[in-house]
């Protein structure tokens, strides 16, 4: 270390700060050489610059997403003209998601029942399994798991479809035919996701509670009456609707992310795949973030 100051005759002793700077420069030079040997290009400050770019891009994208949201909402004035598209999308998104959502819900309900029984054991009678399942499903698991699953399925599908249309110039073609792509493509998908996710969630809630019953009946040998009483005991319509309000926001996020990344796709098949991935990741992150915010707004305990 500190080769530059090894020979005292060469220079008068440098002040400590300068020596430190020289040492640092020597270390950097060695690092540089080591990186170069491995075939990396090491540039001082590159990491900081990359972080800065990422942050900037995040804010830029956030702005663009809000721009798209505003343009979409402005398109609502022309809704009657695009009603056919909206209904097509609602059908595909809602009915098409049901099988997958049903499978997820039945297992969610079943495993919740198992876990609830495990938690209750020794504290409360097992007949409250139905109550716990109902609470968990209505306010949290039903809306969130449905949103994550539908987000994966629908978000990716929307992004891939619109991304393909973008890279094959179909979106440009729409524009040249004087058909606004935001209204023709984004609005129906956004609306369908926003309106249908709560509907799908209602089914998911019901199927999950029935899944819980299957466990209660088959494993814990409860009667249908016991389980139903427990469900009724815990059921609050306020919980159900709060959960559905969450679903509405989750649906909007899924529709918005799918269309946003789809519209931005570029560069062929690879770009379309990237858009689909980004849409799913972004909608998952958004669903979980919104879930926390909305839980605080909707379910805050009064202390």
């Amino acid at each position: 270390m500190g080769e530059p100051s090894d020979d005292p005759r060469a220079r008068p002793p440098a002040p400590p700060t300068e020596r430190a700077a020289e040492a640092l420069a020597a270390v950097m030079a060695r690092l540089h050489a080591a990186f170069a040997e491995e075939g990396f290009q090491y540039e001082p400050g590159a990491a900081t610059a990359a972080i800065g770019r990422t942050v900037l891009r995040f804010f830029e994208d956030t702005g663009r997403v809000f721009g798209l949201l505003l343009a979409t909402l402005r398109g609502l004035v022309a809704l009657p003209r695009y009603m056919g598209e909206v209904l097509t999308q609602m059908f595909g998104l809602g009915v098409g998601s049901l099988p997958l959502v049903a499978i997820v819900a039945v297992f969610t309900g079943a495993v919740t029942a198992v876990q609830a029984a495990y938690q209750l054991e020794g504290f409360l009678p097992l007949r409250y399994v139905g109550s716990m399942v109902t609470k968990f499903i209505l306010i949290e698991l039903g809306p969130v798991l449905t949103a994550l699953v539908v987000g994966g399925r629908v978000g990716a599908a929307i992004a891939a479809e619109l991304g393909t249309m973008r890279v094959t110039e179909q979106i440009d073609a729409l524009e040249t035919l004087a058909i606004p792509p935001v209204r023709y493509l984004v609005l129906p998908r956004f609306l369908a996701a926003t309106l249908m996710l709560p509907v799908v969630t209602v089914f998911a809630d019901l199927i999950a509670i029935l899944g819980g019953f299957a466990v209660a009946y088959l494993v814990y040998e409860q009667s249908a009456h016991t389980y139903a009483e427990a469900v009724r005991h815990a059921f609050l319509s306020r919980d159900l609707f709060s959960g559905l309000i969450k679903s509405t926001f989750f649906g909007a996020s899924i529709g918005l992310m799918g269309t946003f990344y789809g519209f931005r796709a570029e560069g062929g098949a690879e770009g379309v795949g990237k858009a689909a991935t980004q849409a799913v990741v972004a909608s998952c992150v958004l669903v979980l973030t919104l879930d926390y915010v909305l839980a605080n707004l909707l379910f805050r305990a009064t202390l």
């Binding site: 110039e169 179909q170 073609a173 040249t176 035919l177 004087a178």
Partner: protein, 266 residues
């Protein structure tokens, strides 16, 4: 004057793709815009139909100043300006018939029977009668291009833009498309701008030819004048050679004899 560009500048990826382009297209003529790949031909076309906003310079389309046009203005103009895309850009979620009918259904408050009649007429014009129920994915490249043309003419435009109409097609199919473009111009009097680097196509359909080079119009004139041009850049393009003909072997000012010598005995 159908289209008038003055001093059009466009940067893409930090490069000036259009660097002060001046070009005028007259009523009823077919202008073929030539240029090498990446020379900004398609970029210019996208300006004329509002897919790219004007960065610098002025642009008139259908006699209207569209330099700062709003989306609303463009949507009005686009009922009279249509574009045929390089890859046809057919909506693959729809049938051929729905592709052609889409804009009609969206804009024209016409009864469905009338729309279907116009779809059939458009498809008939391009020689694809009774293909309404086919899917775009089941069509050949040439058929896709023809459906693209049928879709573009369904709204009876006054200005028709073609982006590389014959690229990726075999010579026979290219000829079918070329004849179609010419027949369309003769029968409907539509003004056309055709972007291509296919010289044969250019000679066949063009009333006038313009050559785009380094973001500017290097040559403008009739196909005959193009053939006779002495400009080395133009010659290079016409002859399809990658040799640099811009420095005549004789030295001195590039003259007829100088550039002639550069080609050697034909």
């Amino acid at each position: 004057m159908m289209v008038g560009a003055r001093g059009l500048v466009r940067h893409l990826g930090g490069r000036a793709v259009l660097a002060g382009l001046d070009l005028e297209v007259d009523d009823g003529e077919t202008l073929v815009l030539l240029g090498r790949s990446g020379s900004g031909k398609s970029v210019f076309l996208k300006h004329v139909i509002g897919l790219l906003p004007v960065e610098e310079g002025t642009l008139h389309v259908l006699g209207e100043d569209v330099t700062r046009a709003t989306p609303r203005t463009w949507n009005r103009l686009r009922r009279e300006v249509a574009m045929v895309f390089q890859g046809a850009a057919l909506f693959d979620s729809m049938t051929v018939g729905d592709n052609v009918a889409l804009a009609l259904r969206h804009h024209a408050r016409a009864p469905e029977a009338e729309i279907l009649g116009r779809v059939a007429a458009s498809l008939g014009f391009v020689g694809l009668t009774d293909t309404e129920s086919l899917r775009p994915s089941s069509l050949s490249g040439g058929m896709r291009k023809r459906v693209g043309i049928a879709r573009a003419i369904a709204l009876k435009p006054r200005l028709l833009l073609y982006d590389e109409p014959t690229s990726g097609l075999d010579p026979v199919t290219s000829d079918v498309i070329n004849r179609l473009i010419r027949r369309l111009q003769q029968e409907t009097g539509v003004t056309s701008i055709v972007v291509t680097h296919d010289m044969q196509s250019a000679y066949f359909i063009a009333d006038r030819v313009a050559l785009l080079h380094q973001g500017r119009i290097r040559f403008r004139g009739t196909p005959d004048a193009l053939r006779k041009s002495e400009d080395p850049i133009v010659r290079q393009f016409v002859l399809g050679t990658s040799l640099d003909l811009s420095t005549p072997t004789g030295g001195g000012a590039p003259g007829p004899s100088g550039s002639g010598a550069a080609f050697g005995p034909a």
